[in-house]
Subunit: 376 residues, 2 copies
């Protein structure tokens, strides 16, 4: 997608120097657009941990590049040990993201440590590019399947389609296209008039900061709203469709996503508004049955609630929002039960949020599950 008219991915290998990885520093958006050079696995670790990059697909690819850089940077003799050690280190940057561990392990499997170094560099770079392409491709497929939903509403309504989204499941969380935003971009590019209600998404304001930014840069009509507003809009027919992303979805259809998603799902249900979740299949948890009981909810630093960051006219500044002696608490996610979800938009197609429908789309998992239960 574009920034200032120029197409970008969220991460790429420097054109000038193939031992430098570059990312957009998302901590500074939308106030400052800055590109960050990552030259070592340590740089990648800090970019992930300090959230210069965020979003499961982007984190995974950043860590994969970290393994590539670990190879480039190494000067000693025991390469295998070095790579294993750097792999664990990179995985520890944000231990809850499933894609992170997966991407690191893929890279590690590729690096037996007994191949000629130059060849290893080539194949590991090719692998990173493959992971990256896969993410882009999955996002695009989600976009194409989701587009059908938007098109259908547009053909019925013959007026701009109003879509509400929460947090940033946009291209900035991925490599390109995004998950929840992919159908929106596809519709916009096809000339279907869309308007997006952007939940600001307290406490970290990824909606107000990142989703509004990327939609604006792509020329998509949008309006930022306080998280409290969605219910009122739905009561008054001002929302045709909700699309959100997911951090983890059980194979029974319960959806963990940014805190507050559940409240929007309730309002959608109460007002007959379709509520879709867009997710690559890597987001499915094939073990968990009961999302509310089983999915662990990250409790983050309460200062993210007590303080906020914004632009003071000169620089990015933090201000305190609450009385000095008042405590705050900061749960990062909530779980929307499957009964409130109209459908899941995956790279394989759209399915209902229930066991049968999900496993029908992923027969290889159904077969593995059947085999496992037979062997018990």
């Amino acid at each position: 997608m574009r920034i200032n008219g120029k197409p970008y991915h969220t991460i790429w290998l420097s054109e000038k120097n193939s031992s430098v990885v570059q990312v957009i520093d998302q901590r500074k958006l939308p106030f400052v657009f800055e590109i960050l050079d990552l030259k070592t696995p340590e740089d990648c670790f800090h970019a992930i941990r300090d959230m210069a990059v965020r979003g499961a697909p982007l984190i995974g690819v950043t860590a994969a590049y970290g393994m590539y850089l670990a190879l480039l940077c190494y000067k000693g003799e025991d390469l295998k040990n070095h790579l294993h050690e750097r792999a664990e280190y990179l995985k520890s940057s944000r231990p809850t993201a499933v894609n992170l561990a997966y991407a690191v392990d893929v890279m590690l499997d590729l690096m037996p440590g007994n191949l000629a170094n130059s060849y290893l560099k080539e194949i590991s770079l090719a692998k990173v590019e493959e992971l990256k392409t896969r993410e882009i491709c999955f996002s695009e497929k989600i976009g194409e399947f989701g587009l059908e939903i938007i098109e259908k509403i547009y053909h019925q309504k013959k007026k701009p389609v109003n879509i509400l989204t929460h947090c940033n499941a946009g291209w900035l969380a991925c490599i390109d296209w995004g998950t929840a935003t992919a159908p929106i971009y596809k519709a916009h590019l096809k000339g279907i008039p869309v308007h997006v209600w952007v939940d600001e998404t307290r406490p970290r304001n990824q909606g107000a900061r990142l989703t509004a930014y990327e939609l604006g840069q792509e020329g998509v009509s949008h309006t930022v709203i306080a998280d409290n507003t969605g219910g009122h809009l739905m009561q008054h027919g001002m929302v045709d469709l909700v699309i959100v992303g997911s951090d983890r979805t059980t194979f029974t259809g319960d959806v963990a996503n940014k805190i507050g998603t559940y409240l929007k799902a309730l309002a959608a249900k109460d007002n007959g508004v379709p509520f879709y979740v867009a997710l690559p299949s890597s987001t499915f948890d094939w073990q968990m049955e009961d999302g509310i009981a089983e999915i662990p909810i990250e409790e983050r630093n309460p200062n993210e609630v007590a303080q906020i960051e914004g632009w003071n006219g000169n620089t990015i500044q933090q201000v305190r929002l609450i009385p000095e002696n008042s405590p705050a608490v900061n749960y990062g996610f909530d779980v929307t039960p499957a009964r409130l979800v109209t459908g899941l938009i995956t790279e394989r197609g759209i399915c209902k949020a229930n066991r049968e429908s999900i496993l029908a789309l992923f027969p290889e998992i159904r077969n593995t599950k059947a085999q496992l239960s037979k062997n018990k």
Copy 2:
């Protein structure tokens, strides 16, 4: 209630000078505690319009004091005209607040303009004090009725009662005690352990700024949360009771309150958490039947969403939260349909949120309505 251990009302006549009214400047809380002198009706107008004072009961009393000051300040001959003109002026400070017009008219009715000035001053001051006392008394009654609900939960649970509230329907919005907070203070003073989840209440953050402040000053255990959090807490049994205030309630039980209230009511219903609305009877709209269709929803300045105010360590500062070219929209209220409301806590007692139950508590209205429909 107390601030720094000293009992306060939100508004009072200066002890040193009976021609000066004093208020707590609520624009600066919780960062700075400052008392503002109001010496003229113009001072009262600005205090209301610029929200140094806010909350329907407090606005009403401030305007009544404004009429008293209009009397004191007048030096000319045509007092009656002067008072009528100042009355209209004061009413225009925030035209949507019902209590404001009511309080001004009560004062105007009292001032025929042909009485000796010194006597007028006395009776008008007595009337303001009467209005003030009435508000305090109504809040206390709401507190006593609401206390019964909290006590009942405590006796069943034998553990601290967790109460969630939205916005500030606290003593700072009233003269003392508050509406939604009155039962909480009564419980706390009776030694019943309570803990309050304080919704920050974007965009103006009255929860994070005012409710947290007044609960903290009164020593009530509380935790500030992002508005997105309540649903997750309810799913996990961490909320026993929701109490909110109201800006307007239809006689059929639909409740207009700060934007986002509806989302909490949905979550309460979905999780079997009782959802109560505390309101003095002056908040009832005896004409409207369908709250969602009929109650006008104030659209406020979008800058309240695009920007936020906080403490930068030295002073209160505004920072921008969204991209420069992104639009925002700011609806002030939403309507919670009666079907989601467990009960209404009024100064006359608790009733269900439906026509029969409300009118049974206010038989004089029922009789007037019956008379009117007979005369048609």
